[in-house]
């Protein structure tokens, strides 16, 4: 729905302008519209609720700070915000790996347990655990596509890659998930 998207972006632009003029009600609307998505993205990338809240708060703070200089129509507010959040997540992941706090390539600890929960049809937990085992960029692309409902074009803008690269990332991610979830499900006799 490009028209609806354009209208939403224009509304966000107008809200940013109102906020910059001192309208706190505009800040509340922007927070309600944008913060949940940014937080969900950060949760997906960092797999740590407190760290995710820090990143989402920081991303929103950058929006508040840039508001007086925001140029309507140049960048989509949500795309700009998600790019900021993505960069903040990448920095934190790099730092964590650099200091050896997250030296293991993927958090596999909770995966077997979560996959076993398929027996009780806890698909959400199984999917989250399986997604946590994906490489960062595949996880991000898949999150934006299937949890945030972004188009491949928007994902390409946020991730600063080509649309073809997005298609490749999501394709590989979904095949990996299918391998982890569906095959396991059949192995558990639930297929």
């Amino acid at each position: 729905m490009p028209d609806a998207d354009a209208a939403t972006d224009a509304e966000d632009d107008a809200l940013i302008a109102r906020f910059a003029a001192g309208d706190q009600a505009a800040a509340r609307v922007l927070t309600a519209r944008l913060a949940p998505g940014v937080l969900a993205l950060a949760r997906r990338m960092l797999r740590d609720a407190a760290e995710a809240e820090d990143v989402a708060q920081e991303a929103m703070l950058r929006l508040w700070k840039i508001a007086p200089d925001w140029q309507a129509g140049r960048a989509k507010p949500s795309t700009w915000l998600y790019r900021v959040a993505q960069n903040l997540c990448t920095d934190r992941l790099r730092r964590a790996r650099g200091t050896g706090l997250d030296a293991a390539p993927e958090p596999v600890d909770d995966a077997p347990g979560a996959l076993d929960r398929l027996i009780t049809a806890d698909r959400a937990a199984a999917l989250n655990a399986a997604m946590a085992r994906l490489p960062d960029r595949q996880r991000l692309a898949l999150h934006l596509r299937h949890f945030d409902g972004r188009s491949n074009i928007e994902i390409a803008e946020i991730m600063e890659v080509s649309v073809e690269a997005v298609e490749s990332l999501t394709g590989r991610a979904k095949r990996a998930l299918a391998g982890m979830l569906i095959a396991k499900r059949e192995g558990l006799g639930l297929g």
């Binding site: 927070t31 703070l61 508001a67 590989r172 998930l177 299918a178």
Partner: protein, 122 residues
Amino acid sequence: MAHMTESEDTELEEFFAAARQAEPPPSPAFLGRVLADAADQGYGRAAPAPARSDVWARVRTALRSIGGMPGVAALAVCALFGLGLGYTGQSGLDAITVLGQELDAGFDDYAVGGFDTSELEG
């Protein structure tokens, strides 16, 4: 790797739908922090009028720049001297004016006495 089948795609979508439903909403505490950050920016807030103590601080700074109280005293003496000079200067100016008139009269006498106008007459 082989492409996914349609049934695999459908099944995977069921996992996504379940995970979307299970997504926890942002906590009120988190939303409160975000809004507090927004309020902290202070956009649209009028700049506060300078406090009385600020005015006096500015006066003290200005006085200090001219040498403090000795400087102020010197300035006051100069101002009084200037006023006095103004009054006394008025009488001095009158004397100069009178002297000027006398000189002017003397010049007229000289001019009349110096020329013999009868020589010009035919």
